[in-house]
């Protein structure tokens, strides 16, 4: 399928989509949808010739006819269906989206609407929520990015959170995106907006799941607006089936004294592309981007991050680690821009990888673009196999090679996983990693991790 055919299909689909909209047709949001659709006409599906997609092939979009699958077949899921996807012991606000549409039946929102707005994008649009209209697509670059434009043109549902000033939300907001492919392949375009009022705190967990054996494609855009002294814990947990495809763009705008912490954990998925873009709008803000990917089989993960130091006195920290097994492939592209006058910037970037087989592959590119002089920026990238000395240490103490390998990988992973702030979630991820590595004794692993950290520090 070439670009023209893609555009013809999209034109038809867009007409269909528009005809299903009722009262929302004249809203400002729909005007932006139209704009985004017009932008698609001039955009091409990214190929490997463009720098941002150099190692990332999206030809599967055609193979599975995803563009024709933007529907929402009648689906009836029960609480039992989503039971396996919940996080153990987590006291949460649960929002469930099935094929991109909010399911009120499956969701559990604990806060009354008049205090904290946690609702679906669709509901917010219906009632013309003023803040939604004001902020929709302020950050998303729907004019230049194909997939953002696609999402914007077809945006109809997602999470809308509007936290007033001075509220600390203890229970995490768990957003579950489910693709039910039992009736065929599915594409969904969830659109999320988070508005955090001054001095408020919020924890968000996003998980992705596929039911059925057909392929699913989730094309998501999330916009996060952080006010003065806000605190945002953002956790993306990607442990989906082998035939799920995901492209997600998260755009964050940070005001003074705000702190944005993100953990992106990717355990499986046929194709995953995470775009994480944060921009400092005011001084003294901080961003910490953590990532861990552990891919097997033929899976593919691509983490693109961009931290835009547009103003002085901001800190950013980026820490991504990955383990690649079988014929898994990973791409890491971290970019830090320090704009003119953004003095006293501190920006650190790390990417560490372990390849377990000769068929696995990693392409990493930690970039720095610096236009100010009074800055401290550094980046590092390593690729390697397991540390021979650490291996010997364990082997000489009678631990089998398999076990030693598992223990070392587990401690490699824990450095990132430990940074997850929600304890229940952290334990859950630890369990998942340990299960995959067939490590029984988590406690032993933790102790061992500490030992190696101590050795490293001594060196």
């Amino acid at each position: 399928m070439d670009n023209r055919e893609i555009k013809n299909i999209l034109a038809e689909e867009f007409l269909k989509f528009q005809s299903k909209l009722n009262g929302q047709k004249t809203s400002t949001i729909n005007a932006i949808r139209q704009e985004a659709f017009n932008a698609i006409k001039n955009l091409e599906l990214p190929t490997r010739k463009s720098e941002a997609w150099r190692f990332t092939n999206v030809s599967w979009l055609n193979e599975h006819d995803f563009l024709l699958r933007n529907g929402n077949p009648d689906i009836n899921l029960s609480n039992e269906d989503i039971e396996p996807f919940t996080i153990k012991d987590l006291n949460e606000n649960l929002l469930v989206f099935v094929n991109g549409t909010f399911s009120e039946k499956l969701s559990r929102i604990k806060y009354p609407r008049d205090e904290i707005i946690i609702e679906s994008f669709r509901d917010a649009e219906k009632r013309n929520a003023p803040n939604l209209l004001k902020h929709f697509s302020l950050l998303a670059d729907y004019k230049n990015d194909f997939f953002t434009a696609l999402n914007t043109a077809f945006a109809k549902d997602g999470v809308y959170v509007n936290v007033p000033a001075g509220v600390i939300i203890d229970e995490p907001i768990h957003v579950m995106f489910i693709s039910d492919t039992r009736q065929g392949a599915v594409m969904s375009n969830p659109r999320n907006i988070f508005l955090i009022g001054k001095c408020s705190q919020i924890n968000v967990v996003e998980t992705y799941h596929t039911i059925g054996d057909n392929p699913a494609f989730t094309n998501m855009v999330t916009e996060i607006f952080m006010n003065f002294a806000t605190h945002f814990e953002f956790n993306k947990i990607q442990n989906d089936k082998g035939n799920s495809y995901y492209i997600g763009t998260t755009q964050v705008e940070q005001a003074k004294n705000s702190v944005f912490n993100a953990s992106t954990i990717t355990m499986s998925g046929r194709f995953i592309r995470n775009n994480m873009y944060t921009a400092f709008k005011e001084e003294n803000a901080e961003t910490n981007l953590n990532g861990f990917y552990f891919m097997r089989n033929n899976d593919f993960v691509d983490n693109h991050t961009l931290i835009d130091h547009a103003v002085p006195n901001c800190n950013s920290n980026e820490f991504y680690k990955g383990i690649l097994d079988d014929s898994a492939k990973a791409v890491f592209n971290g970019k830090v821009i320090v704009r003119p006058n953004a003095q006293k910037t501190n920006a650190y970037q790390q990417n560490k990888n372990i390849l377990l087989t000769d068929d696995s592959k990693i392409n990493t590119k930690p970039e720095l673009e610096i236009y100010a002089d009074d800055v401290k920026c550094s980046h590092g990238a390593t690729t390697g196999y397991l540390d021979k000395e650490a291996m010997f240490y364990l082997r000489s103490r009678g631990i089998s090679e398999e076990m030693a390998k598992s223990l070392l990988l587990n401690s490699f992973a824990s450095e990132v996983i430990e940074r997850i702030k929600i304890a229940e979630l952290r334990d859950d991820i630890k369990r998942q990693v340990a299960d995959r590595l067939t490590v029984d004794d988590l406690y032993f692993c933790d102790v061992l991790g500490d030992v190696f950290k101590a050795i490293e520090n001594k060196q």
């Binding site: 006058n341 990888n353 392409n363 970039e367 550094s378």
Partner: protein
């Protein structure tokens, strides 16, 4: 310390020391590029037929190519039909001794401080000096000849050793490699050729000076160095060009071939005219440099880049052989409106191949300085090892320092480490120096030299001194 002071003094009074223009009549090809011009160049140089065909083939490739725009450079449009592709000093009967060399040219070299004739012997350097396009003087040929070393211009090599040229030319940088390499392949005027026979250790540093002289004649150098099994050679290349307002195009190609157990050390001090303080004029330097390493061989690139308005240069190593070693040491300094996008590629194909990258970028004024590098480990390159360190130093808040490292790993036994930092000279260090009676400008000179020392140490002695001076010269006016 006194010397440091002299340097700074010198800089503040001189703008571009090597900016002068020698008035020598030129014999030029007609303006622009077409098949006739290529035939003219080939005929002028009495080239064998295969060379002409090779050039024409390259030209036909080039015609269908587009100038690359992926680098972080702002390149003004270049009109390739406005350039003279061939200019040679008119007295083109080949000189047999120094007396026959045009005195004007000799004067030029004197100003540049090239050891030629007597001075060449004292300095122990064999210079194959190239002015514009035709090699005008060659020294130490006899001494090298005794060892079987061939060191001459490419034109001479085509005349006397066509089989070697035919075998190796384009074998590392094929004519289709990139836009500028194709252009060079079509129109290259002259350059150096060097062949070190099996097991011979070249007793002296071989060096060549390239200069751009004739008005608006782009210079297209082609260098080919072959180190046969078990041999060693150290090659120096130095550049400086007359001050000129128009932009001049320079698209060189350098190919190195290191056979089993051979070692090639290639050092460059590049000081083309960088343009004036307002970014007017200056040389466009688009260079393709690449070497291939066979088993147990080593190629080491060392470069000090201070000149050119635009630098586009990535000296690379293809580590084809097992246990082969590639090294890249670079200091790139940009000032005023200079732009540099430079770095290296280390392609690990052989088992146990190793590479090391040390890049030091210094940006001052309103310049943009980028490091762009690739470390790639193929599936079969077991136990490949790479270490890269790319540091950037910013002087002033109007300049930019950028790092674009690409690391592609396909083998689990490979160990790749990349490290980069960006910083400025801290106030504490300056204060420390001031306290001890060292003026700020001197202090910066000291610190920059110390910062670049790791790379400068790799240069041969005479070059290291020159390079230190160059760093200071190029930084002139950036303090304050």
């Amino acid at each position: 310390m006194i010397e440091e002071k002299d340097i700074v003094e010198e800089l503040t009074t001189t703008d571009y020391k090597y900016g002068f223009y020698t008035d020598i009549e030129n014999e030029t090809s007609s303006k622009g590029l077409n098949e006739d011009v290529i035939r003219f160049i080939s005929k002028k140089k009495n080239e064998p037929e295969f060379m002409l065909q090779w050039r024409l083939k390259a030209y036909n490739y080039w015609k269908n190519m587009k100038q690359p725009n992926w680098a972080k450079l702002n390149i003004p449009p270049i009109d390739y039909q406005e350039i003279y592709y061939y200019a040679a000093p008119k007295k083109n009967s080949k000189p047999k001794s120094l007396d026959e060399v045009d005195p004007e040219i000799l004067k030029t070299f004197e100003k540049l401080g090239i050891p030629l004739g007597e001075r060449a012997k004292l300095a122990g350097v064999a210079v194959d000096a190239v002015m514009d396009s035709v090699s005008v003087s060659t020294s130490f040929k006899d001494k090298l000849g005794e060892l079987g070393i061939i060191f001459c211009s490419i034109s001479e090599a085509l005349e006397h050793h066509p089989e070697l040229v035919k075998k190796y030319l384009g074998s590392v940088v094929p004519m289709t490699d990139n836009y500028f390499a194709a252009l060079n392949s079509a129109v290259f005027s002259d350059g150096s050729f060097c062949y070190i026979p099996k097991g011979v250790r070249c007793p002296m540093e071989l060096s060549t000076y390239f200069r751009i002289n004739a008005k608006s004649s782009g210079q297209f150098e082609r260098t080919l160095i072959i180190a046969d099994e078990g041999s060693y050679v150290s090659y120096l290349e130095g550049c400086s060009a007359p001050m000129r307002d128009e932009n001049q195009l320079h698209a060189a190609v350098v190919e190195l071939i290191a056979h089993d157990n051979a070692e090639i050390k290639y050092s460059t001090v590049q000081n083309w005219y960088p343009g004036d303080k307002n970014g007017k004029g200056g040389i466009y330097n688009f260079v393709t440099k690449r070497g291939i390493c066979h088993n147990h061989s080593k190629i080491s690139w060392t470069q000090v880049e201070t000149g050119s308005a635009i630098t586009w240069k990535y000296p690379s190593c293809i580590l084809k052989g097992d246990y082969s070693v590639g090294e890249f040491y670079s200091v790139a300094l940009t000032n005023n409106y200079q732009q540099a996008d430079t770095g290296t590629k280390m392609i690990h194909l052989g088992r146990n191949s190793k590479s090391r990258i040390v890049s030091k970028g210094i940006s001052a004024g309103k310049s943009q300085n980028s490091y762009r590098g690739l470390v790639s480990v193929s599936k079969k390159a077991e136990n490949a090892r790479n270490f890269s360190q790319c540091d950037s130093l910013l002087l002033g808040d109007k300049c930019g320092a950028h790092t674009f490292p690409y690391i592609d790993t396909n083998n689990r036994t490979a160990v790749i480490e990349h490290e980069a930092t960006t910083s400025k000279i801290s106030d504490e260090i300056i204060f420390y120096c001031n306290q001890r009676g060292i003026a700020t400008e001197d202090a910066i000179g000291l610190i920059v030299n110390g910062y670049a020392k790791e790379v400068l140490n790799q240069l041969p002695m005479e070059f290291a001194v020159e390079a230190q001076k160059l760093l200071a010269v190029s930084l002139e006016g950036s303090v304050g």
